[in-house]
Subunit: 185 residues, 2 copies
DNA sequence: TCCAGACGGTACTGATCGGTACCGTTTCCG
DNA sequence: CGGAAACGGTACCGATCAGTACCGTCTGGA
């Protein structure tokens, strides 16, 4: 557990928001489980919405650097993203993609939380485009969006099936996609 | 607007739940917008959770018969499911898949709402398996799960992009998948 | 050493949550 | 035509929501 109140709040809020949903977790819970005083929370974050945004921004940075690190460790090929996902799917605390969940929970597309979540997805698309460009694939921009569609489909499916199988399924799909793109090139 | 109180409740609740989320919509809102008295609601549904389950079960039936009807109208081929989805994506009130949204919002996998939503997805998988079997494709059971993964990925992506493009993207993926399966058969 | 800022704890606000109780009216069916 | 069931409206319940105010304490840097 982090030492500073602000860091403890972010860590506790992220864990609870991800596990149970943003709306489902009250300020009271976050205070109790983080051991932070009420006033301290509102000293660092003017409102719950600000806390939510801060949590999402922190998670965005951490998640994308985690993905890049795993992909590199797994060989650096674009298909490695699905192997990285598989590692997440089997974890006991896996609850889908925090950013998909946020976009669904905060329905209003103009809400700050929704915007941060949408921006995260665009960043992931950008990362995959860069990965596919490095792999010298034809039409990396189109393929990147198809890869992310497969990743999101796998995440949502894994939420139901609670196994790593959807990652493998999406990977196979991506493989045939690469093979088809390579053959027509 | 339906005449009977129960039907009005179901219609109003479904619309509000889909548009804003289950948690975000209070009983008060449903009563006000449906014009139903408080006691009447609790006469038909013992609790909000029961109303939620009833709404989801009704939507499940309607959604699946809608899909079957559209697929048949579009020629009956498995790929037609993506054309059907495209029709939904461009609607102004499109807010993703109500069942995915429900599984995310009611995080507990054992909750009644979550269970109904998960059962819906399995029914869709069953429908696609039947569709793919009729199309005499190799390994229809595996392909059905891959198709549903693509459908869910397209839905989640359409939620961000707000166009029909993800449906087309998923359709292309499914086409290459069918082509690959056909060539290895 | 001293003091300012960060901190945890508690009491409180008005609003809203899901749910209950009881009211008088309307509607439909025998 | 009569009565019972279905209905809409309102007052109310305890619990919880996000947010404010003020308390005494602890801590780190000058």
């Amino acid at each position: 557990m982090p030492v500073k109140a602000r860091d403890r709040l972010l860590a506790t809020a992220e864990e609870l928001f991800y596990a149970e949903g943003i709306r489902a977790v009250g300020i009271e819970r976050i205070l109790a489980e983080s051991g932070v005083g009420r006033a301290s929370l509102y000293r660092h974050f003017p409102s719950k919405d600000d806390l939510v945004v801060a949590v999402l921004e922190a998670r965005d940075r951490r998640w994308r650097s985690w993905l890049a690190e795993r992909v590199e460790a797994l060989g650096g090929r674009p298909l490695a993203v699905f192997d990285a996902l598989a590692e997440r799917f089997v974890r006991n605390d896996f609850r889908g993609c925090a950013f998909i969940n946020t976009m669904i929970e905060s329905a209003d597309p103009d809400s700050p939380a929704h915007r941060v979540a949408a921006a995260h997805k665009e960043s992931v698309v950008g990362y995959l485009e860069q990965l596919l460009t490095a792999a010298e694939v034809a039409e990396p921009a189109l393929l990147a969006r198809q890869f992310v569609l497969l990743m999101d489909g796998a995440v949502v499916t894994a939420l139901r099936e609670r196994t790593a199988a959807p990652a493998e399924r999406a990977r196979r799909l991506a493989e045939t996609l690469l093979a088809a793109a390579g053959s027509t090139a």
